[in-house]
């Protein structure tokens, strides 16, 4: 007999909730989105004794049941709705042993919803360093729950916790507080109007901020219950909070002993340096520098390996499969296209590793603290630093990371400017073009190519900051800007948690990008190898030079070029060429630009497919390196296609253009309107076109 139960993990941010989730479920987890919003929904399965299968849900961190962001609202909506399909049979409240008092506020609120609870006191390994002693039997009795000490550094508690979960039906579901104690008159009146409803639940519904919550409040308007003004509600909420703290304090006075003299902490000393008005910024600068250095120096090694693996795979396919259309599609279209994306795995993994490291260690909050005032001058919040830095990896998670920005205006501006940051998808385009047009020489010991790349990153940041400044001037919106941010304890991130993040993020990146690239590669390959008309079917009749004077190889190259020019893709390319000609691009690059509106990295794959079909060297069964082909690519007059002018123009186009459908989709979801992504797309593309046009005309 197998029984399924639902267990939710609830807790303040930074309490190590996700580590407990990982310990319970292992890699047996899946991440999806809550319907309609982009809040991540983490679900995992944990098998227990007696055939019980527990579905574990890791909810977003929240400080209380008064939602002040859409992430927190997810928690509240789930806990208020008994008919929700994920409504928990049991809630595990994860709390931080060093800040039990505050963590218990949320615990008592969940308890008041009559949900059976287990209290997991996490990071218990730190108790001895902090001089904390807990009287667990006393706390269990007075909080009326089961308590388990957990730690991310040990494992012995896991079986005990599993055992508690499997005995979920023995857990008490009593209330902690009688709401009537908060304000007798108000709550008696409320109960009288809605005699059948759970009093505390009603109160939570009344308190929800309409900005974040979809909780239905119509029943209030339809009753004769006298609603209170916002300031009166606030006063009641304050009374509730004070009451909870009072009761919790009374319990902790007996149940918790803290001997300050035994407490050892480096946190304060580290903070003195990391938030220092000078050293803090210096340290932050070196952290950023270190990240870039690592990404370029370390990622190269696995990237070279992946590159050669894909090259030999293509070769192997060509040699061993019967030659024909399918083999060509596989080798020139699919493998080449996929290879173009797999090659970024090392860099993306490194980026996500660093970002997850910065967040998990608690350092990111210090950066927010240091940067808040500066960012405000540009109409952003200190919290915008996190999306802007994450934007260097990928704009999609970055835009999702804007959710904890309290002010809508600051959040909207952050969403709109983040795509200017140089994301990892631009990297392959930059790398190949920089290698083509910028000399590989050094000046004062610095490599020109490295300087060019660095400049592109700085350019992206400047573009983001400048447009934020302009948007802040233009957008007429009421701004109620606050910042309330916890400065969590410093901790050394667990390798396991960082690894999970890397695997999850990289996997989803590859899957999403892979799908687009696969589809586009196949379409491109088809369009490039098919065509109509005499020029396509009999190209040898249309060679202007005397055929006898050409070597066999030259002849084949000519034929391939004419065929490609007259294929479907060639016809399309020629039609749109006038648009891109003033920027210095030929029709092949034009096709690359068009396809890369789906996703930037498609550009390299597109060129690989187009050039390979044209330049495939059959005699050796081998592909020539893309970079070499591009280097020797000429137009009909014999002029090089990739010159300094066209190269820089192309780099600038990629720096500014909004070429990522997935980002636009996320912006649409997060802003809940088509207006913002549409504006973002049009303006960014216009900027890209104008800047590239001016640059090309000036340099050439």
């Amino acid at each position: 007999m197998s029984r399924q139960i639902k267990v939710t993990l609830i807790g303040n941010p930074n309490t190590g909730k996700t580590s407990i989730f990982n310990s319970l479920t292992g890699l047996n987890q899946k991440i999806a989105n809550y319907p309609g919003v982009t809040v991540e929904k983490k679900e995992g399965i944990c098998k227990l004794d007696r055939g019980i299968k527990a579905h574990i849900y890791d909810l977003p961190g929240t400080y209380s049941l008064n939602a002040s962001s859409i992430d927190e609202n997810i928690v509240v909506e789930l806990l208020l709705n008994r008919n929700h399909k994920d409504y928990p049979d049991l809630a595990i409240i994860v709390s931080d042993v060093e800040n039990l008092k505050r963590n218990l506020v949320l615990f008592t609120q969940v308890k008041d919803l009559r949900i059976p609870t287990i209290l997991a006191i996490n990071m218990s390994d730190r108790m001895k360093y902090k001089g904390i002693e807990l009287d667990l039997p006393y706390l269990e009795k007075h909080l009326d729950t089961k308590i388990i000490l957990t730690s991310n550094r040990t494992n012995h508690w896991i079986d005990k916790l599993k055992n508690l979960i499997s005995n979920y039906n023995k857990l008490p579901s009593t209330k902690f507080i009688d709401p009537k104690l908060i304000d007798p008159e108000y709550f008696k009146n409320l109960q009288r109007t809605f005699p059948k409803q759970e009093l505390y639940k009603l109160w939570v519904v009344i308190c929800q901020d309409a900005n974040f919550s979809n909780v239905d409040k119509n029943f209030l308007a339809n009753s004769n219950f006298e609603t209170k003004s916002i300031s009166e509600l606030k006063r009641l909420q304050q009374k509730e909070t004070i009451k909870r703290y009072q009761l919790i304090n009374n319990i902790l006075k007996v149940g918790q002993k803290v001997d300050q003299s035994k407490a050892i902490g480096f946190g304060a000393a580290i903070d003195r340096v990391l938030t220092h008005k000078i050293f803090g910024y210096v340290f932050f600068f070196f952290i950023l520098l270190g990240i870039f250095q690592a990404i370029y120096a370390w990622a190269i090694i696995p990237m070279d390996y992946i590159d050669s693996t894909f090259a030999s795979l293509t070769e192997w396919v060509k040699m061993n499969l019967p030659s024909g259309a399918m083999t060509d599609l596989l080798a020139d279209g699919i493998i080449t296209g996929i290879g173009g994306i797999v090659i970024f795995i090392p860099q993306i993994a490194f980026l996500f590793m660093f970002i997850s490291f910065l967040e998990e260690s608690g350092y990111m909050s210090r950066v927010v603290f240091l940067m808040d005032k500066i960012m405000q001058k540009f109409g952003l919040s200190g919290k915008s630093v996190v999306p802007l830095i994450s934007g260097v990896a990928c704009a999609i998670p970055a835009i999702m990371a804007t959710r904890n920005i309290e002010s809508w205006k600051e959040r909207l501006i952050t969403i709109l400017v983040t795509p200017f940051m140089t994301c990892s998808a631009r990297l392959p385009v930059y790398l190949i073009i920089v290698a083509l047009v910028i000399p590989n020489e050094t000046i004062f010991g610095f490599n020109y190519q490295a300087i060019a790349l660095m400049s592109l990153y700085i350019l992206g940041f400047l573009a983001a900051i400048t447009s934020a400044y302009i948007l802040n001037m233009i957008l007429k919106m009421k701004k109620r800007s606050v910042l309330v941010m916890e400065m969590p304890n410093y901790k050394i991130p667990l390798i396991k948690d960082v690894l999970y993040t890397i695997i999850e993020k990289t996997k989803s990146f590859i899957m999403e990008a892979g799908k687009i690239i696969l589809a586009i590669s196949v379409i491109l390959w088809f369009l490039a190898t098919n065509g109509v008309g005499d020029k396509f079917t009999n190209p040898e009749n249309h060679i202007s030079q005397n055929i006898e004077l050409l070597s066999e190889e030259e002849l084949q190259t000519k034929i391939a070029a004419i065929k490609l020019e007259n294929s479907f893709i060639g016809k399309i390319g020629k039609t749109i060429e006038p648009v891109f000609k003033p920027l210095g691009y030929d029709w092949k690059i034009g096709i690359g630009l068009i396809t890369s509106f789906a996703a930037r990295e498609v550009f390299v794959g597109t060129l690989a497919v187009i050039y390979n079909i044209e330049n495939y060297d059959d005699s050796k069964g081998k592909q020539r390196e893309l970079k070499n082909i591009m280097l020797h690519e000429t137009d009909e007059n014999g002029n090089k296609v990739f010159t300094l002018a066209s190269g820089i123009s192309l780099l600038l186009f990629y720096a500014f253009a909004m070429q990522c459908m997935s980002t636009l989709a996320i912006v649409k979801k997060e802003t809940n309107s088509w207006k913002w992504p549409a504006m973002q797309f049009i303006i960014m593309t216009l900027i890209a076109y104008i800047v590239s046009l001016i640059t090309f005309q000036l340099i050439s």
Partner: protein, 78 residues
């Protein structure tokens, strides 16, 4: 009337009143309540946010919010 914004780095005081309507509820839930002690850990440059410790919760808030937290006289910290 003194507020938390008047405190210097390292100073402590007891919170007297937080009844302003503009104080975010979140701040109260984090322990910013009358009777609790507030300590200034660090001040960001250029009148940036302040880093405080209330009741064991360490938080960053902006100057404007700090002005809404009414305090008793600062406790001299030796």
């Amino acid at each position: 009337m003194q507020t938390a914004a008047d405190l210097k780095k390292g100073e402590k005081a007891i919170i007297k009143d937080v009844s302003s309507n503009n104080i975010p509820i979140k701040l109260l839930e984090m322990g910013c309540l009358p009777g609790n002690e507030i300590e200034i850990i660090q001040l960001a440059p250029l009148l940036g946010p302040i880093y405080i410790n209330i009741n064991g919760s360490r938080l960053a808030i902006r100057k404007g919010t700090a002005r809404l937290i009414i305090i008793d006289k600062p406790i001299k910290n030796e």
